[in-house]
């Protein structure tokens, strides 16, 4: 039904409101018009320089590099920074809270910002597009290379925007006035500069990859981590915009578990079969999972009154949801589940890919995940000793990495001070996960060390089991209460 409203209006009605507003603001504001004008000037200057230098063979390559040199800062610095400014304004001014009272969910707010950034990106790209077409006509660069680089640039711009939104949503404190601006400028500036610096090498490599017929494989390999980071930053930003007393935890728990499973499927489907691939993936997963377990196991133990009303009614569904619901005890259960998925995935992958797992890599993966569980258990026990409330949670999240760092560094420092030198790895370094994993990955004589780590894990499991049990009991009780209502 037309409802007497013009077609463009009806189409806008279907768009994300944040997208519509951000575009209106950009069109009304000066910053966007200035950037567009500057981009047009750059394009004109580059075109004039190309015209003046004649049309030597291969001129297209250097012209393309020049074009991207001007386009990359716009895509990777200006577009994300605009998203940061807008988010920070909303959060520090309290408008973000007003938005939460509407039908918009935090995820929709972040999606709207990413879409608005993409609209800006496309406007800038359309300004540079004639020049890019010209570089192709001048030869020296082919269409797949252009598509490859622009595709990666688009993903990188989205990822940088998601990171900027996350920073904007996390830095609303009045105390942190200028620091986030400086931090973001340094990060985005450094990122843009490094991409600009690597442009020529990247173009050469892309040409090589295309000639070998591995375009999609390499594009997939490069885009997978960028997409994973994009999802992570977006989810982080949505969690920051979600009120502290709502459920911020479940999406991260689902994301981290799914990421481990998807990563194994991905290497099985995309990468050539390799003895090291499974252990390498398990090690990468252990390193990245640090941020997830640190937040999940240090949460308050109990469900909030509102979360209790959202526990699934069906008992089997409630039981399945236990590791994914907020709460430190349930965070421990989730960590164990991810650990099992990561180690189990290594064996399933090797079976499916028909490879024999490299033994040193296998031991290193086991060691890494035992460390994950030891430190996660310690963090849970520490959180249990601290007072309830946001302060205790924050303290546990700061203290845990500090403890890991001290346990890793202090033995080496003492040794250096006492003996004026650092000997090789010895038992005193057992709580240094980085060095121990590296040593285990090289040698096969670390059986006793692994036994000590396994025993420590079992001991800590005894101490953390009550918290996990309480986590299960609470969910069952909440589910029963919902059924009874």
């Amino acid at each position: 039904m037309s409802d007497g409203v013009a077609l463009p209006e009806r189409m806008l009605d279907r768009c994300n409101p944040i997208l519509v507003r951000e575009v209106q603001q950009a069109v009304n504001g000066r910053a966007f018009l200035l950037t567009v004008s500057a981009s047009i000037c750059c394009v004109t200057i580059i075109a004039m320089v190309i015209a003046a230098s004649g049309s030597a063979s291969g001129e297209g390559l250097s012209a393309f590099i020049w074009t991207l040199t001007f386009f990359v800062p716009v895509a990777l610095f200006i577009v994300p920074f605009q998203a940061f400014l807008s988010t920070r304004h909303e959060v520090s001014g309290g408008t973000a809270e007003h938005l939460l009272l509407t039908r918009l969910r935090p995820g929709a707010i972040v999606r709207g910002k990413l879409l608005a950034a993409m609209v800006q990106y496309l406007v800038y790209l359309s300004i540079f597009a004639p020049l890019i077409a010209l570089t192709f006509l001048l030869r020296g660069v082919d269409v797949p290379s252009i598509a490859f680089l622009l595709g990666l640039c688009t993903l990188a711009s989205l990822c940088a925007t998601a990171f900027s939104v996350l920073l904007g949503a996390s830095s609303a404190s009045a105390r942190a006035r200028t620091l986030p601006y400086i931090l973001l400028a340094v990060i985005l500036g450094g990122f843009s500069l490094s991409v600009m610096g690597a442009m020529q090498t990247l173009l050469m490599s892309v040409g090589f990859v295309i000639r070998r017929g591995e375009f999609w494989k390499v594009f997939g390999a490069l885009s997978f981590p960028v997409i994973a980071m994009l999802l992570l930053f977006s989810q982080g930003a949505a969690a920051q915009l979600t009120h502290a007393y709502e459920n911020r935890s479940t999406p991260f728990r689902l994301l981290s578990f799914a990421a481990v499973v998807v990563a194994y499927i991905w290497i099985w489907l995309v990468a050539p079969p390799d003895d090291d691939a499974g252990p390498a993936m398990a090690l990468i997963a252990a390193a990245i999972f640090f941020f997830f377990w640190l937040f999940s196991v240090t949460e308050e133990e109990q469900l909030s009154p509102r979360m209790k009303t959202r526990v699934p009614r069906r008992s089997w569904l409630a039981a399945l949801s236990v590791p994914f619901l907020p709460g430190g005890g349930r965070g421990m259960l989730h960590s164990w589940m991810v650990a099992v998925a990561a180690i189990g995935g290594m064996y399933v992958y090797s079976d499916l890919a028909g490879v024999t797992i490299d033994q040193n890599g296998e031991m290193a993966a086991w060691t890494a995940w035992m460390y994950v569980m030891i430190y996660a258990s310690m963090a849970r026990l520490l959180r249990g000793r601290l007072a309830s409330g946001e302060r205790g949670t924050r303290l546990a999240r700061v203290a845990t990495p500090a403890i890991i760092f001290l346990l890793a560094v202090l033995p080496t420092v003492f040794e250096a001070l006492a003996d004026q030198r650092v000997r090789g790895w010895h038992t005193g370094q057992i709580f240094n996960p980085f060095w121990t994993i590296e040593q285990v990955g090289r040698s096969r004589t670390f059986g006793p060390v692994l036994s000590v780590l396994a025993l420590t894990n079992m001991l800590l499991l005894v101490f953390t089991a009550p918290a996990m049990g309480r986590g299960i009991v609470e969910v069952r009780a909440a589910s029963r209460a919902r059924r009874a209502r």
Partner: protein, 312 residues
Amino acid sequence: MSSALLEVRGLCRSYGSLRAVDDLSFAFEKGQVYGFIGPNGAGKTTTMRMLATLDLPDGGDAFVDGLSILVEPRKVRMQVGFMADRFVPYPNLDVVEFLDFFARAYGLRGRERIRTIESVCSFCGLDDFRNRPSTGLSKGMAQRLHLAKTLLHDPSLLILDEPAAGLDPHARIDLRHLLGELAAAGKGILISSHILSELSESCDGVVVIERGRRVVSGALDEIAKEVREHHAVRVRLLGEPDEAERFFLTQPHVQDIQSVDHTIEFDFTGDEEEMAALLQRAIGAGLRVVEFRQREADLEDIFMRTTKGKLQ
């Protein structure tokens, strides 16, 4: 099932060891304006944020038109219009664009959205300011824009946190009229303010809280009766006030005499018969009485008598 528009039942909220809201209960119906008053730090904003579903109670619950803020926050949000004490509009948007954005965010589409924006603009007196930048409005107009934004989704309950703060007398009077019209349209309004004279003119009832606990709540006239055990009497005279003061000092049931120019105020502990007799004696004694009236307890009296001004 209760017919109350807002029913608060034993609401509690703690921040660490601080009990910001402690077992708070009250209720009111559609079309009523309720003042929510208390000293600074009494827990007013925390309560209002919980009612708007922006914060979570540790205990208790509240129901907006029968919907629990705990169980059905999304439905409650569609029933509640929350006007926070802080309002920062978007830069590079004019008044209509600002309202258009929030109308879209509330899910209004097409002709309905356009109609709603026109109607709230007109109701809040923003017609002449439609194309003004939303960041370039005076405090009074910004509050009107804030109110307009709050009304976009036609909420049945309005929660207004200090809406009159920083407004000049004209803007306050305008706001009072707007609230009166909204109440007449059947909306319930919970409003907090430190400007008690403003509240007393626009409120049907009041909830007074201190240190997170309800001190008193109910219809204004009923509370006024409860709060004042004595009659406050005000007498205006012609002639010498000293002589009149001496006279009243000797009269039974009269205490706490205060005299300013030609006006004498005192507390009278007797009943209405005895008050009539006192007036007769005063005239008989030759006092030239111009006015003799019993003063009603106002919101300021209620507030001062029920709270101790303790902070937490």
